[in-house]
């Protein structure tokens, strides 16, 4: 490996501050002054401007935003107050806690960003100090700019994507996590306050516990069943298509892939119609005299067990083609020598599959199986579009018998319940489950590899 290994002689920030010249010292307070002194104009302007902008913002709106964050707004209810200056009574609206929370979190982000820029400023100051101390060449303005396309290309290319992630993924996620610690629900739709772990208590042992644990159980059963069935039958289907003598393999694969390729909101919404009590499937079965009266597959009169089995079978219809595609690629690349050896030793097809092919596929696919498992825990589309959670369960709070945690989360937010804090708690719990599962699984697979 040809690597440029250049370790700069170290200097602590303390040394930089103590022994540096005036501009270097000033850099600790007025960002960019050291860069100006070394004629790195662009860098200096950027540092100085960001400091000015930050402090103007901080005193204008940063401090109030952070202050409000402590109690999410002073006015919790709508009330009438006497306005002394005008001498009249006015109605005071409750404070909008959602916006207060949002701006508070944004303010914290801004502060962190500023600290980071300050750190960059210090680092650049120190580098210049070291270069000066050792009599090395100090990068000119042009060289600094050029390095953005060479040694610091990563920061150039990553800036915009990182900003996108920050605003559209990290900020919303932090916002929702903090929502789990409030009492934001139907009773407190505008102004709410911090309540600590109360919402967690509601979900784990309070009025939602009777729904949470059964739904969690079904979610796990569903995730295991959905992952296992699609994987196992996908492998079998791939082996069937890949087996000797079958012609037009590409055509057969395409037939199955079409089902996967149709947008899910089309295929699943139509599947719901197909399986309806008055739908085409019941009609076909009646005409074939296989059943005497229509079956309730997934509507509200369906038995939970039938609905759950139907959902898993429909998921096989959608999921097997994908896993068939992936296992095809793996089967084509499997080393043939072991299979040959086994065949010479007299193993039959079933034995070869059980002892050689299947373990090999399982080994290669283990990481993507874990991803599929987590994907199935969060499989919103199949449940939401197919059953919408039906059949409704009177023992549950806002969920039906086929509802997963993630569709229940959706119902709690956008349905009648409007328990935003509880849905945030659910989101955190789903995260914990996913994290634990993948952590355990990855450790197992790594151990498996070493063994």
């Amino acid at each position: 490996m040809f690597r440029k290994k250049h370790v700069a002689p170290k200097a602590t920030y303390r040394e930089t501050f103590k022994k540096g010249d005036g501009a270097t010292k000033l850099s600790f307070f007025l960002m960019g002054s050291n860069a100006f002194a070394n004629k790195q104009w662009v860098k200096g302007i950027v540092f100085l401007l960001s400091e000015i902008i930050f402090f103007v913002w901080f005193f204008m709106s940063g401090i109030p935003a952070l202050k409000l964050l402590s109690n999410l707004g002073p006015d919790k209810t709508k009330r009438v107050v006497y306005d002394a200056s005008q001498g009249v009574y006015v109605t005071k609206q409750p404070s909008n806690s959602v916006l207060i929370l949002l701006f508070g979190i944004l303010a914290i982000f801004m502060c962190i960003a500023f600290i980071w820029i300050y750190y960059l400023n210090l680092r650049s100051t120190r580098n210049n100090y070291i270069a000066k101390r050792d009599g090395d060449h100090i990068a000119t303005n042009m060289e600094e700019l050029k390095s953005l396309f060479d040694s610091r290309l990563h920061s150039t290319l990553m800036t915009i994507p990182l900003l996108g992630i920050l605003f559209f993924t990290v900020l919303p996620t932090v916002f929702m996590i903090s929502m789990a610690f409030t009492n934001y629900d139907r009773q407190h739709p505008i102004a709410f306050s911090w309540t600590g772990f109360q919402a967690f208590g509601n979900v784990l042992s309070g009025d939602l516990a009777g729904t949470f644990f059964p739904v969690l159980g079904w979610t796990l059963i569903w995730a295991v069943a959905a992952t296992a069935t699609t994987f196992f039958f996908g492998v079998l289907l791939a082996m069937l298509i890949e087996s000797k003598g079958i012609k037009h393999k590409g055509f057969w694969r395409t037939v199955f892939v079409i089902v996967w390729a149709v947008p899910q909101f089309v295929s699943l919404l139509m599947m719901a119609q197909f399986l309806d009590y008055q739908g085409a499937l019941n009609n076909i079965l009646m005409n074939l005299h296989l059943i005497s009266s229509p079956i309730h597959f997934i509507d509200n009169q369906a038995s939970p067990l039938v609905a759950r089995i139907t959902v898993i079978i429909v998921n096989m219809w959608i999921g097997i083609p994908v896993s068939m595609l992936v296992s095809t690629a793996i089967i084509q690349n499997l080393p043939q020598d072991q299979i040959e050896a086994a065949r010479i030793d007299g193993a039959n097809a079933a034995q070869i599959f059980r002892s050689i092919t299947f373990p090999q596929i399982l080994f290669v696919m283990a990481p993507s199986l874990i991803q599929q498992f987590i994907g199935n825990i969060n499989n919103f589309n199949v449940i939401f579009l197919l059953t919408g959670g039906a059949p409704m369960n009177s023992k549950y709070n806002g969920a039906g018998s086929t509802d997963l945690l993630v569709t229940w989360l959706y119902n709690l937010t956008f349905g009648q319940e409007q328990r935003y804090n509880a849905s945030a708690v659910l989101g955190i719990l789903i995260f914990v489950i996913s994290a634990v599962v993948s952590l355990l699984a990855y450790r197992r697979t790594n151990a498996f590899k070493e063994g």
Partner: protein, 285 residues
């Protein structure tokens, strides 16, 4: 020897029969969807497999329906998906390339943070996104575009797996010849990753055509059906009347078939890249 070949023949016929039955089972509902789009129907319900009466009226109706401006939906979705395709592809490919080829202090932490962020259910962020966009007064198509593009930096896994398979020796040869990292990216990385760029672009292009959840939350507040994207518009067409008979059900099916055909073709075309990405990632565990 004869019995052996006869046995093999029998097994082959058996496998063909099994494969045919499976293929028919799989494709049957799809065929039914296409048939339903041609069936004459005013009950809002298709209860037979073979339509009683064929008609083209559903396809004419969906384009002339004043309540559901299908043409506007197509234009909206096309605009959003093209814009999102260009921007997202650039962002995703840059992130994937940087994470795969360059080494810098923030690389490992970023990969871990991305992994952790990916484990939060996407819906959790939706309420917050709604308020952010509402605060910026952007509950419209442009806001929706920002949401699609905003997540692009996290969708780097398949492309990174691809870049990992390109030998580093090529980069190093160019570096020795004095190329900067930017030149390596522009003249070596990008040309070599053409198939990956196509795949990433297609994925980004297809997403707006199939997403009915985000578009629903962001666009529904305007209440103006002309602003919808196609997925939410069609979903809305049956969802608002779910359970009741709707006069537009057959038109909904026709609309679905119209957009499903190009997407299906694109997907079938993309399957190879998809598989390569998954298996390339799987090798590394």
């Amino acid at each position: 020897m004869k019995s052996y070949s006869a046995q093999r023949r029998l097994s082959l016929i058996g496998r063909y029969i099994l494969l045919t039955i499976l293929a028919i089972l799989w494709i049957l509902p799809i065929v039914w969807i296409i048939l339903a789009s041609f069936s004459y129907n005013d009950t809002g319900f298709v209860s037979t497999f073979w339509p009683d009466k064929f008609t083209l009226q559903n396809y004419i109706g969906i384009f002339t329906n004043p309540q559901y401006p299908f043409g506007n939906w197509i234009i909206n979705t096309l605009a959003i998906s093209l814009a999102s395709m260009v921007i997202s592809t650039f962002l995703t490919i840059s992130v994937a390339y940087v994470l795969s080829r360059l080494r810098f202090a923030f690389r490992k932490p970023f990969l871990q943070i991305a992994l952790v962020l990916g484990m939060f259910p996407g819906f959790m962020a939706m309420i917050a996104l709604y308020y952010i966009l509402k605060g910026l007064n952007m509950l419209n198509l442009f806001g929706l575009l920002l949401v699609y593009v905003g997540g692009a930096g996290l969708g780097f896994y398949v492309a990174k797996g691809f870049f990992d398979t390109i030998p580093r020796a090529i980069d190093e040869a160019a570096e020795i010849d004095g190329a900067t990292n930017w030149q390596v990216f522009l003249h070596i990385g990008l040309p070599l990753s053409k198939p990956m760029i196509v795949y990433t672009a297609l994925t980004a292009f297809i997403a707006p055509w199939t997403d009915f959840i985000f578009s629903g939350i962001i666009l529904s507040t305007s209440g103006n059906a002309k602003d919808y994207t196609i997925a939410y518009g069609l979903y809305n067409m049956v969802h608002t009347a779910k359970g009741n008979a709707t006069a537009y059900f057959a038109q909904f099916v026709a609309g679905c078939v119209i957009i499903a055909i190009p997407i299906t073709i694109l997907f079938v075309f993309m399957q190879k890249f998809y598989v390569n990405g998954i298996t390339a990632g799987a090798d590394k565990g």
